[in-house]
């Protein structure tokens, strides 16, 4: 494996959790729900994956456990914001704080234990392709899942009728309700999908990226994923590009630090957010762009008439 391959692989590994969490949140936001609890769902996924892998001795079960944990945790958010119609921003923030605390408590017993690593799966023949084979087809299952998720979500949102309904709800939930589309049910499903993706993203951190449990090990990646959704202007393909871009930045930051290059690391870690602000400014310059690209009912609570 040469140096270039190694760098690309490192970047992809750093990007996978960002991409997964972002693609999940993208679906949630497309349905008009703003879940700021991505960081909390990720860390719950991370601790659950590590714990279950430890207890069962299977990293694969750990990954599934992380996914389920994220989904269950998101159901709490769904219940509060969709059934009890609590404020989405406040609930999302609370979810993050709760997740960070709860995961610290659960994970206390696992600090310092050597972790299990989810094995890479080499796809026969394809992984023998020169250069790209090792990069694309000899990866861990969560990486494959993230790519399948991008393609699947793209198809779902823009090709399927259910995806059209989901986008309609995100654009105008009252009209969608008047047409007989099940607003709350669809949003529950979207929130659960987002939770599952965030949970799996967290699992990637604790059983692939750095197979160990460290408190607060998500280190703000949930927030980067949230920024990424806006950066991608709610389009899955752009989320893929953005995730790899942000992944490269985070690796570049480590690289610059180790080489003592004079760029302040804080500036580099702020880069994803600066890029997101730039995208927001560009979108809002044009009202039509905003109308067509942003889910108009994002963050608004929906109370059906009875």
């Amino acid at each position: 494996m040469d140096m270039t391959q190694a760098i690309i692989l490192t970047i992809m590994t750093a990007a996978t959790p960002l991409l997964l969490a972002a693609i999940g949140e993208l679906v949630v936001e497309r349905s008009g729900v703003l879940n700021l609890g991505v960081e909390g769902m990720m860390i719950m996924g991370a601790v659950a994956a590590f714990a279950i892998a430890q207890l069962t001795g299977s990293a694969g079960l750990g990954a599934i456990g992380g996914l389920v944990a994220g989904m269950l945790f998101s159901l709490l958010f769904g219940f509060l914001t969709l059934t009890l119609v609590a404020n989405q921003v406040a609930t999302g923030l609370a979810l993050t704080i709760l997740g960070l605390g709860l995961s610290g408590m659960i994970g206390e017993a696992f600090i310092g234990l050597p972790g299990l690593k989810l094995a890479a799966v080499e796809i026969p023949l394809l992984s023998d392709i020169p250069f790209f084979g090792r990069i694309l087809f000899a990866q861990d299952p969560i990486f494959y899942t993230s790519i399948v998720a991008v393609i699947g979500v793209s198809w779902f949102l823009f090709r399927s009728r259910a995806g059209l309904r989901l986008r309609a709800i995100g654009d105008n939930h009252s009209s969608a309700h008047a047409l007989g589309i099940k607003v709350v049910r669809t949003r529950y499903l979207a929130v659960m999908f987002g939770g599952a993706c965030a949970g799996l993203a967290g699992a990637h951190l604790s059983i692939v990226y750095t197979p160990q449990w460290v408190e607060n090990m998500t280190a703000g990646r949930g927030w980067i994923a949230l920024a990424l959704v806006v950066f991608a202007s709610w389009r899955p393909g752009r989320a893929l590009i953005g995730a790899y871009l942000f992944g490269a930045v985070s690796i570049g930051q480590l690289f610059a630090q180790s080489r003592g290059i004079g760029i302040p690391s804080q500036l580099l870690s702020a880069l994803p957010y600066l890029a997101t602000i730039a995208v927001l400014v560009i979108i809002s310059l044009n009202r039509r762009m905003t109308l067509i690209n942003t889910p108009a009912s994002l963050g608004k609570s929906f109370v059906p008439e009875r």
């Binding site: 059209l164 309609a168 105008n172 309700h177 047409l179 007989g180 109308l291």
Partner: protein, 524 residues
């Protein structure tokens, strides 16, 4: 008449009731719609029309009574069920998704999984058949209000409904667009479909409807053949008393010039806004100038520069009482004796989440500082005088509310509009500028608001009314101007103005043929 009795109605409701908390929104409604009939549903805002049609379309569940379809009792539990039964609906506030294309919007209302391409073709065919041109691949965000309504109609037609419900369809259309719609309705009727037509425009109802059911306070107050009635007898059934006839003709000789707009041009502030082009307007004390025009031709832009929400490049382009005011903001203009009522009630004219007294202080804290505020720079609100003023305004304008000082957003559109107009009139302003004073307001409230505007002019103030409603324009104006693509025609006395001429001016015909004008209209 005999026929109606024998024939089984397409749709019938018996004692249909809907209760919200302690309010009976619909109270034992009996309604029968015959096949191939255009049936009008008349009533003021809050009379229960919307609640009734929402039950017919399965959006709301009835609290009591039954719905019969072709003589058989049915349960319409969801819009999908309504569509399957054969009921199509065109909503008043369009239920369209701006971020989606026309075809996607249509697909959403259809059940099953018909490919988008097929829906596009079908929609294109239908839109041509019914004279409602549409491009299925366009984004709704880019379409005009009239085009948006066509989507709704085509969407309803695609399901081949036997009954089509239209909720206030012409409130957003030009007279010409409305005529086209009536042609479409005639075609639907000829095909044997029934139409339930909800409107508060009596003239229209008389023109196109075979029968009418009138609602008031959730109850049926009359069923009639609208052609046998006069507008005032219909209005009486709607509001339960004579609607006062209003006339601006009785206004006296106009006095001094209070507002003078000269050579005012303003660039469009966004791709969706309209640029104002060389606007000239003189408004005198004691007159009502109406500015007619189709929505989106620069009305809100004109209102914004008149109110000071947007300032203009040269101060003397707008003079108020002789003082150059073009660079002054809205509060400064209020202090000069002006009052303004913008079009959008929620969020512009009033804050829906604040109560009425709070909304009163927000618009008059500067002009009525002495009354409403105390404590010098602290600006403490004097709750007593504010409450008194709120009560006075509510009484003067007959604002109906359940609490003493409710949230603005909890009032019906008509009642909130009465409060907003009353709030400004209560100051006895020298100049009042109003944008669409009675949009979406029921007949009783509209009549009250119009009378108040005429009374203000009679007491010697200058009034500018920007309105799309031609009936209103003819009722209250002393002079009429028309705005089209940001250009304002020269105001003409209402006595010499005709609907045809306004229609031509709205369409941009500024030749003035047959109407000798002192100045060539925007020759450059």
């Amino acid at each position: 008449m005999e026929n109606h009795e024998i024939e089984i109605p397409l749709l019938e409701t018996r004692r249909l009731t809907k209760i919200f908390g302690s309010l009976k929104a619909c109270d034992g409604i009996d309604l029968a719609i015959a096949p191939g009939e255009v049936h009008a549903l008349l009533g003021e805002n809050g009379a229960g029309k919307s609640t009734l049609v929402k039950m017919l379309f399965g959006v709301l569940e009835p609290s009591g009574g039954e719905i019969l379809w072709k003589g058989r009792p049915v349960k319409i539990g969801s819009p999908a069920q309504a569509r399957a039964t054969g009921v199509g609906m065109v909503f008043q506030h369009f239920s369209l998704f701006e971020a989606l294309t026309v075809a996607e919007n249509i697909a959403l209302a259809l059940d099953g999984n018909v490919p988008i391409e097929k829906i596009s073709d079908e929609a294109r065919r239908l839109s041509v058949d019914y004279g409602l041109p549409l491009d299925p691949s366009a984004h709704v965000a880019d379409l005009s209000v009239g085009e948006r309504q066509r989507i709704e109609i085509v969407r309803a037609l695609l399901q081949n409904p036997e009954l089509i419900i239209l909720d206030e369809p012409t409130s957003v259309l030009t007279p010409q667009e409305a005529d086209k719609l009536f042609e479409t309705l005639a075609k639907l009727k000829a095909e044997g479909r029934s139409v339930l037509y909800i409107s508060h425009r009596l003239e229209e109802v008389q023109r196109i409807c075979d029968r009418a059911t009138v609602l008031r306070h959730g109850k049926v107050t009359g069923a009639c053949d609208p052609r046998q009635e006069t507008p005032s007898s219909l209005a009486r059934m709607m509001v339960g008393g004579e609607v006062a006839a209003i006339s601006g003709a009785g206004l006296g000789e106009p006095g001094e010039v209070l507002v003078e707009v000269s050579k005012l041009s303003a660039p469009a502030r966004s791709p969706f806004a309209v640029a104002l082009k060389d606007v000239n307007l003189t408004v005198r004390a004691g007159e009502v100038i109406a500015i007619a025009g189709v929505a989106g031709n620069g009305q809100s832009e004109l209102f914004d520069v008149l109110s000071g929400e947007v300032t203009v490049s040269h101060a003397d382009q707008i003079r108020i009482g002789g003082v150059a005011a073009g660079r002054l903001g809205i509060t400064a203009r209020r202090l000069m004796g002006c009052s303004f009522v913008p079009e959008e009630r929620h969020g512009h004219a009033a804050v829906p989440t604040m109560n009425l007294s709070g909304n009163l202080v927000l618009s008059r804290y500067a002009s009525d500082r002495k009354t409403f505020l105390s404590g010098g720079w602290l600006g403490l609100i004097n709750t007593g005088p504010v409450a008194t003023a709120t009560k006075r305004i509510s009484t003067d304008m007959d604002v109906r509310k359940s609490l003493v000082d409710p949230l603005a957003g909890s009032l019906s559109g008509g009642n909130l509009q009465k409060f907003i107009v009353g709030r400004e009139l209560d100051r006895q302003p020298r100049v009042l500028i109003v944008n669409q004073p009675t949009w979406g307001v029921d007949a009783g409230a509209a009549s009250r608001i119009r009378q108040a505007l005429v009374d203000l002019a009679r007491s010697g103030s200058a009034v500018v009314v920007i309105s799309q409603d031609l009936d209103e324009v003819f009722e209250i104006a002393s002079r009429v101007a028309v705005i089209n693509e940001g250009r304002l025609s020269v105001p003409e006395p209402v006595a010499t103005m005709t609907r045809e001429r306004i229609g031509l001016l709205m369409g941009g015909f500024h030749d003035g043929a047959g109407h000798p004008q002192p100045e060539a209209l925007h020759a450059h």
